[in-house]
């Protein structure tokens, strides 16, 4: 029987392993010396340790390890590109195939959710210290959690209605259901972190916060879309990937008819747009990108998912013009090497060609006495990478308290 492909845009849950299945997978683990998988996780989630815990029937211990190391453990279990991180390092690759590390992490996190256990405790080491974190995305959340665990009073500011940043507003629900994000955010709430949501921090206010708090961390995300400098890009029907995904998510998939869709881009966000379009009933969907298929930056499993959904990917074509009268009707492409051209009919064109920081965030730097992490440092990378930077910034902040 072929493995089931998710066909629902907003599932309540992505089916986790049960105990037997988890034990089966954990038993495949070679329990390596100085395990390469653990070294392969930027966030330091320590898969070798939590898999060993599962193998020795200590699921609570596994959940505790994940939580101690990665405050976004439940979300990362679903969205992390493990195939190029921990799994790429897995010694078992030398025998057959790597351990399904994310599924084991999901199993342990599901145990946490069901048991309602709280694994993190607040120590009183730095009570009296106060830190503001700007942005409620992965980097800020990770920084806040590390600080809160050591007794620091943390307030997170974010202009959105809810915490989570890209997790909440960009990643589609068929990859990351709402309840999983909430499970992670709950851990911060339990640690006593304050959230100031619907609160945009301007450069002026930042000065006030710097005076009011002992330290300020900035974890602004890349919320601005890059565009293409070609004719017709302002036509109606040409939308930005972030806006498209956000709109779909906010409305639980109830959006205006998409018609025929052309997605431009070969990254993970483009794959999200392609799959979302398909799951929301678009008619003819084409994902076109400039790279060769194997060089398109999306992880292999996301490309495969889009392929399984039946969305064709066309590689090595670049868009040269959006054609239409007020509203987009067609997109013209040229092959990057051999001069072939093609036109695809489109009611909706989704541009997934990258994102950038807003100008204000760009002006905030470490030279201003700020601590910085996430997209601002790494130029837009994975959630685990943001977690790593958030943790590192927290360590620097703690260092500053030690004087």
């Amino acid at each position: 029987m072929e493995q089931r492909t998710i066909m629902e845009y907003e599932p309540e849950q992505l089916e986790p392993y049960d105990f037997r299945r988890a034990m089966e997978e954990a038993s495949r683990c070679l329990l390596c010396e100085d395990a390469p998988c653990t070294k392969g996780c930027p966030a330091g989630t320590d898969p070798a340790k939590f898999i060993r815990s599962i193998r020795f029937k200590n699921t609570s211990g596994a959940a505790e390890t994940i939580r101690e190391n990665n405050i976004l453990g439940a979300s990362c279990a679903l969205i992390c590109p493990q195939e190029r991180l921990c799994q790429a390092a897995c010694s078992r690759c030398g025998i057959d195939r790597p351990i399904e590390i994310k599924k084991l992490q999901q199993f342990a996190m599901e145990h946490e959710r069901k048991s309602g256990r709280k694994y993190l405790n607040k120590e009183k080491t730095y009570t009296g210290k106060r830190v503001a974190c700007i942005g409620a995305g992965p980097a800020s959340l990770a920084c806040a959690a590390e600080l809160a665990k050591q007794g620091v009073e943390v307030t997170i500011y974010d202009e959105h209605e809810e915490a989570g940043g890209m997790l909440r507003y960009l990643i589609p629900p068929y990859r990351l259901p709402e309840q999983v994000i909430n499970q992670d955010i709950d851990q911060l709430v339990k640690l006593g972190v304050h959230f100031e949501l619907n609160h945009h921090v301007s450069t002026e206010e930042l000065e006030t916060l710097k005076a009011e708090f002992d330290q300020v961390f900035i974890g602004a995300g890349m919320w601005e879309s890059k565009t293409l400098p070609i004719p017709g890009s302002t036509l109606d029907g040409v939308v930005m990937a972030i806006n498209f995904l956000n709109e779909a998510k906010k409305n639980h998939g109830q959006i205006d008819r998409l018609g025929s869709v052309v997605i431009i881009g070969g990254g993970d966000v483009a794959m999200d747009c392609a799959a979302t379009s398909k799951l929301l009933g678009a008619e003819n969907i084409y994902d076109v990108f400039i790279e060769a298929l194997d060089e398109a930056p999306a992880v292999q499993s996301e490309k495969e998912f889009v392929f399984k959904l039946g969305v064709p990917m066309i590689s090595e074509f670049k868009p040269v013009e959006f054609i239409g009268n007020g509203k987009v009707e067609r997109v013209r492409f040229e092959h990057i090497k051999n001069g072939s051209t093609m036109e695809i009919v489109a009611d909706t064109v989704i541009l997934a060609v990258g994102q950038k920081l807003c100008d204000v965030a760009k002006s905030w730097t470490e030279e201003d006495g700020l601590f910085i992490g996430g997209d601002m440092v790494n130029g837009g990378d994975t959630v685990v990478r943001a977690v790593k930077e958030g943790k590192e910034a927290a360590a620097k902040i703690i260092e500053s308290f030690r004087g």
């Binding site: 037997r20 034990m23 089966e24 954990a26 038993s27 070679l30 329990l31 390596c32 010396e33 100085d34 390469p36 193998r55 010694s91 078992r92 690759c93 030398g94 025998i95």
Partner: protein
């Protein structure tokens, strides 16, 4: 065409088409069920122990042990002897005998006093049994005048065996309990009373698991549990040890052995045969997988015989026994240093961990390249590394080093080595 080997073997004067029998248990409880087993290829049975009265059983009555996700590494069972009446069982024995004249009908019996043993012997013999097996070994009887309490007492074993032998013309097998230090003693008692065969082992008294919610053993019978018999793969090594001791006991030379304990595959079965059994009995793996497992026992042994050029199963009986010797007689003059094939090594470091924590710290670990290296001068040749390595043929036997002054003109080739690790 598939190969066809003659697996027939004579056991206690009875011709058996192959050595595979079902042991006395829930897998041979009535004629209908046993018919299916015979059709599947089992040569004979030991019918579920017939008593004077049917038993009153608990629910649930089984538990399993597991390792990682391997279920049934061992099995615990609380059933006693047949829950059917003597008359019902006698009726079924007659049906089976008429329907399957070429199959071997062994009948297990158990009484609680001499009179009952005599009655059972007579009734079952008259019904048409081919062999009688005396159950001196069930560890979960509710009566202390029955089962393993009797089997632990050579005087009672003698007395009841004698009573049966005096009341039947059939060959008699005494089934031994492993819940004893020296099995030779009750076996000799049975032999002196006239038993021609001994079967071993019955189940081992056990507590398999404790239920961490209810805080009692498993299976949980209305909040409580009891000690009862353990069987399956986990007990095979214990069974093979008892069989070896019985087979090596010179006074028991004339007694034929039937091996029982954790047999699942033809390889398990052949191990018992190589240690001296002319017959093997199976229950636990049939409970898990069904009667069909005998097919792979039959063809598996046939292929083994073909590959080794063996024509008769008889030729294999007991031929490994001479190679089991007392520990004090083993050759202790050399060490075999393992060899790690770095082409095959995947760098998991398990050999290093086990050698350090569980042996002699004789493997060096290069963390940069993730490479193990045997330190010859520290290695004692225990081969723990070969037993933990997850890669086939990555670590193998290497150099043979003789201890100072103990080579005695031998070369490495003179040392017989294990060819395959698991």
């Amino acid at each position: 065409m598939a190969i066809k080997k003659d697996l027939s073997i004579n056991f206690l004067g009875v011709e058996c088409e192959n050595p595979f029998f079902l042991s006395s248990s829930p897998v041979c409880n009535n004629a209908e069920q046993i018919s299916k087993a015979f059709d599947a290829g089992w040569a004979g049975i030991f019918y579920k122990t017939v008593g004077i009265n049917g038993m009153d059983e608990v629910s649930p009555r089984f538990d399993i042990t597991t390792k990682e996700t391997t279920p049934w590494t061992g099995f615990k069972n609380m059933e006693q002897i047949s829950e059917r009446s003597l008359a019902e069982n006698v009726e079924d024995i007659k049906i089976l005998k008429a329907k399957y004249p070429n199959k071997v009908i062994g009948i297990s019996i158990m009484g609680s006093n001499e009179e009952e043993w005599v009655t059972l012997a007579k009734e079952v013999t008259a019904a048409g049994a081919d062999i009688l097996e005396l159950n001196f070994s069930c560890p979960q009887m509710t009566s202390h005048a029955m089962g393993s309490d009797v089997g632990q007492n050579p005087e009672l074993v003698y007395k009841y065996t004698k009573a049966v032998v005096n009341n039947t013309h059939l060959p008699v097998v005494a089934k031994m309990t492993p819940n004893i230090g020296k099995m030779e003693e009750p076996a000799l008692a049975a032999m002196r009373a006239g038993a021609q065969g001994v079967s071993a082992i019955n189940t081992i008294k056990s507590i398999t698991n404790i239920d961490l919610d209810i805080l009692t053993g498993k299976p949980v019978v209305n909040g409580k549990s009891s000690i009862s018999g353990y069987s399956g793969s986990a007990v095979k090594p214990i069974a093979l040890r008892f069989i070896t001791q019985l087979a090596k006991c010179e006074e028991l030379n004339e007694v034929q052995l039937s091996g029982i304990g954790g047999i699942e595959t033809w390889q398990d079965a052949i191990e018992f045969i190589l240690l001296g059994c002319r017959n093997v009995q199976v229950t636990t793996s049939v409970m898990q997988y069904g009667y069909r497992i005998v097919e792979d026992m039959i063809t598996g042994i046939s292929h083994f015989m073909e590959e080794r050029g063996v024509d008769r199963l008889d030729e294999l009986v007991g031929i490994a026994l001479n190679n089991i010797i007392p520990a004090e007689e083993l050759d202790r003059s050399f060490q075999i240093i393992p060899h790690i094939d770095l082409e095959k090594c995947i760098g998991c470091g398990r050999c290093y961990i086990s050698c350090y924590d569980g042996s002699h710290q004789a493997i060096a670990w290069d963390g940069e390249t993730r490479t193990p290296k045997i330190i010859n001068e520290d290695c004692v040749g225990c081969h723990l590394c070969m037993n933990v390595c997850p890669v086939t043929n990555c670590i193998t036997s290497g150099e043979v080093i003789f201890k100072e002054g103990r080579q005695n003109n031998r070369s490495a080739k003179d040392i017989v080595q294990q060819l395959v690790y698991h």
